[in-house]
Each structure stands twice: as C-alpha cells, then as structure tokens.
C-alpha cells in the first residue's frame, strides 16, 4: 500500500537526483563538446553531483509535480490523491521545494499543487515528473497545415514544427533538451501524450519503426542547429527526441511539443 513516506521519498529522489540515463547522456555530450559548451556541461554535471551528495534540489525551480499513477485498485483515487497532497506539503517544507502554486487571479502563493493522472493497471506504479517553468514556457502546440512554416499534414510538416519550436526556444528552456512529441486530433491529447514521452528513458527505442527512424533523424537535425548547452552555442541542443502518434479527426492535425530541460527530474515508484 502506498504511504505518505513513499511519496515523500519519491519527491526527495526526483528533486535531488537525476536519473542515471540522463547523467550518462550529459556525460556523453560533454565528451563531444569543446570550449565554452564543454565547460557548461562540466558545471552542469558538477551541480548534479553536489545535489546528490548534499540531498538538495538540483534547480531552484522544483517545478510542477506531475504524477502518473498506474492504479491496481487496492486504494481509491481519492485515497491516493490525499496521500500525495500530504506528502507534497511535507516535501515543500522539508526538502525544501519552492512554493510554486500561485493563484492566477489573486497572486496568493499556496505551496505546491500536484497534477495527478490516473490509469487502471494490474500492477501499481507511479512516475513523477517535476517539470520546471522554463521548459514548460517554450513547449508548443502547432496546427497543421502551417503556412508560415510551409508545413503540411505529413511527417515532414511535423519535423518543421519541432525544428521551429527549438529555434524559438533557443536557451530559454535550459538545453540540452529532451523533447516529447505527439501528433493527433485533439488539443489536450497532444499536450498530454507529448509530455508522457518525457517519461521514457533516453535509450528507449520506439516500437513503431517509422517513429523510431523519425526520432533518430530529428535528433541529428536538431543538433545541427548550433544552439547548444544553455543556448550559448555547441553541438548538443537535445539529448533525445521521443515521439508518439494518435488518431486525428479528418479536420485536425495537431502537433504537441513538450520540452524537458537538462535537469530532467523524473523518478518512479514500484516499477
């Protein structure tokens, strides 16, 4: 059974330790860079090790906590939600996390408010993504066709959208990025599905052979843009591209692009 302590520990680990695949990705990128971009990656990796050693948040923006819960039905969604809320309060006070929930109208700050997605599953498990505001602000939804980009309703059109979004983002969302992409026919679905791709490990290969090829080629193209770590130039603008597709309505073709920053705070519980 899920306890408040489990969720608190998940918060602690997610906010203070990067997943090993992301650290390995940053290390490989560092070997591939020289000059300023190499120095930036060295400093980033130094920051990552200080965070782990001292159990302190990697970044002052501890983000919006997004929970993806696979529920086996032993606890209700209400019970799990309450456990997460309690653990969020404790984590905000004790780790500590930055109080990031601001009432949009009154401006009042009230701790942190997690977003929780549930799905039924035979086995219980949680993925937690602590998603910073910088990378969230450069995330985009495009609607194809796009006249400005000359982008049609095909995979080449999707490529153009992603490259355009990366060029617009430059260094604002803290590159090297991890990019989640989704195509489909409703607005919220491409937002959700593209963000879910950020849960995949960097070395995870797409089951769909066409998307697998797309991910690989697009990553190479993004890394030809020269934006680099911190947006101050270099070969590594993204560490990974993860794509998914869904069904679309005949009238619609949306492309969702979710940016993850290098401080990719993703951890899981129970699986």
């Amino acid at each position: 059974m899920l306890s408040e302590k489990d969720v608190f520990e998940l918060y602690r680990k997610a906010s203070t330790e990067l997943p090993s695949d992301v650290v390995e990705g940053l290390e490989r990128a560092k070997e591939n860079e020289k000059g300023r971009s190499k120095e930036i990656l060295e400093k980033i990796l130094e920051n990552v090790s200080i965070a782990k050693r001292n159990s302190k948040p990697i970044c002052q923006d501890t983000g919006i906590p997004i929970f993806y819960v696979k529920n086996d039905g032993k606890q209700s969604e209400k019970e799990i939600g309450e456990i997460i809320d309690q653990a969020t309060k404790k984590a905000t006070d004790e780790i500590p996390l930055r109080p990031n929930a601001i009432d949009s109208i009154s401006g009042k700050v009230s701790g942190n408010k997690p977003v929780i997605h549930f799905e039924e599953s035979d086995k219980f498990g949680i993925d937690l993504l602590m998603k910073g505001g910088g990378s969230e602000n450069v995330s985009r939804i495009y609607s194809l066709p796009d006249e400005r980009l000359g982008a049609n309703r095909d995979i080449k059109g999707v490529r153009k959208c992603v490259l355009d979004a990366v060029i617009k983002a430059q260094g604002k969302g803290c590159p090297p990025y991890i990019l989640g992409i989704a195509t489909g026919g409703s607005l919220e679905e491409v937002a959700h599905l593209s963000k879910r791709q950020l849960l995949r490990k960097l070395n995870d290969e797409n089951d769909d052979s066409e998307l697998k090829k797309f991910e690989k080629e697009l990553l190479q193209e993004i890394n030809k843009l020269g934006i680099g770590p911190s947006g101050l130039g270099g070969k590594t603008t993204a560490l990974a591209v993860k794509a998914a597709k869904s069904y679309r309505h005949p009238a619609s073709f949306f492309v969702g692009i979710s940016f993850g920053c290098w401080a990719h705070r993703r951890q899981s519980y129970g699986h």
């Binding site: 300023r36 930036i40 400093k43 980033i44 130094e46 920051n47 200080i50 965070a51 001292n54 302190k56 948040p57 990697i58 970044c59 002052q60 923006d61 501890t62 500590p96 996390l97 930055r98 109080p99 990031n100 601001i102 700050v109 910073g132 505001g133 910088g134 602000n137 490529r159 153009k160 490259l163 355009d164 990366v166 060029i167 430059q170 260094g171 604002k172 969302g173 803290c174 193209e221 030809k224 843009l225 020269g226 934006i227 680099g228 770590p229 911190s230 947006g231 101050l232 130039g233 920053c261 290098w262 401080a263």
Partner: protein
C-alpha cells in the same frame, strides 16, 4: 564590485564578487513604482531562489526575456551596471545597455553552483512570496559569461541567426 563592465566583450568569463539583488516580475514593478536606492549602481539577478531561514538553498537564473519591458527604465533610473539571467534579452535592452551596462549569462538549472559562495544579507518585500521577494546577496567567485555587452554585441542574436541559417540547410 570593482569591475568596469563597460570594458567587457561578449564571450568574456567573469567571476563576480560583491553584492547582487534578485528581482523577478513583482520586484521590477516595485523598483519602477517606488524609489529603492539600495539598488543604485548595483547588479540585478533574475532569480527566484529557494530560501530556508537565513540559508539560500538553491539560486539559479530564471528566463530574462520576461523582464524586457522593464529593463531600460530600470537602468535609466538606478544606473544598474550588470544584469544576470538566462536566455538573453531583446534589442531594446541591448540599446539600453550601450555604454552603461552588460548582460551576464548564468547556467539555467545549475542552482547549487551559485549558492556555494553566497550569503544572504537582507530580504525586502517578503510579502511578495519566497520566489518573488527581493534578496540582497553577497557572492564570491560567481561564474558568469558576458553575452550582451555595452557595445551593441549580442551572443544570443548571433546564435539565433546561425540556428535559423542551419534550419534552412536542414529542411
């Protein structure tokens, strides 16, 4: 801080030592609507830190483009010498920097590197909340790179142009 920032060029690395003030959305408005002489001729840091008691736990830069609209007036009013942030600022800010100030880039996300040699001296406007309050910080060996200088050069703009050119070649 005894650096003549106007002599620096884009690409120069600097280790800052001395007093800096954090400022985000609400602080910028406060500075413009009031007379807050403490920041006269000082350095502004675009940052919303995590603070517990007297300790700054984590304090990396936030995106500077949100403050584009306030910055010319801020420099005019207070003689700000340098602005630290991430992601760069727009051409109006570049003009406002001319002959007077520079923009310095810190590494987004590397929040613990910057707190290694950082003392919290004062907190102003705590009612703005932890993120948006104004913190007076004493720093040493605070690593930054000049990315917009006071001579009209902008590294961010150069990289943007290069990436747009590369896009044309890739597509």
């Amino acid at each position: 801080m005894d650096i003549d920032f106007t002599k620096l060029n884009i690409g120069d690395k600097v280790l800052l030592e001395g007093t800096i003030f954090t400022a985000r959305d609400r602080a910028h408005l406060f500075f413009l609507e009031n007379d807050f002489q403490k920041i006269k001729n000082s350095i502004i840091y675009h940052c919303g830190p995590i603070v517990k008691g007297n300790e700054v736990i984590a304090a990396g830069p936030t995106s500077s483009s949100r403050f584009n609209v306030y910055t010319k007036e801020l420099i005019d009013k207070y003689g700000i010498k340098a602005i630290i942030g991430k992601g760069g600022m727009d051409k109006n800010v570049l003009e406002a920097l001319r002959g007077r100030a520079v923009y310095l880039s810190a590494i987004g996300g590397a929040a613990l590197l910057y707190t290694k040699n950082m003392q919290l001296r004062n907190v102003y406007k705590p009612e703005f909340g932890m993120t948006d309050a104004i913190y007076e910080l004493e720093v040493k060996d605070f690593p930054v790179v000049v990315t917009m200088d006071s001579k009209g050069n902008n590294l961010h703009e150069e990289i943007l142009r290069k990436s747009e050119k590369a896009y044309g070649e890739v597509i």
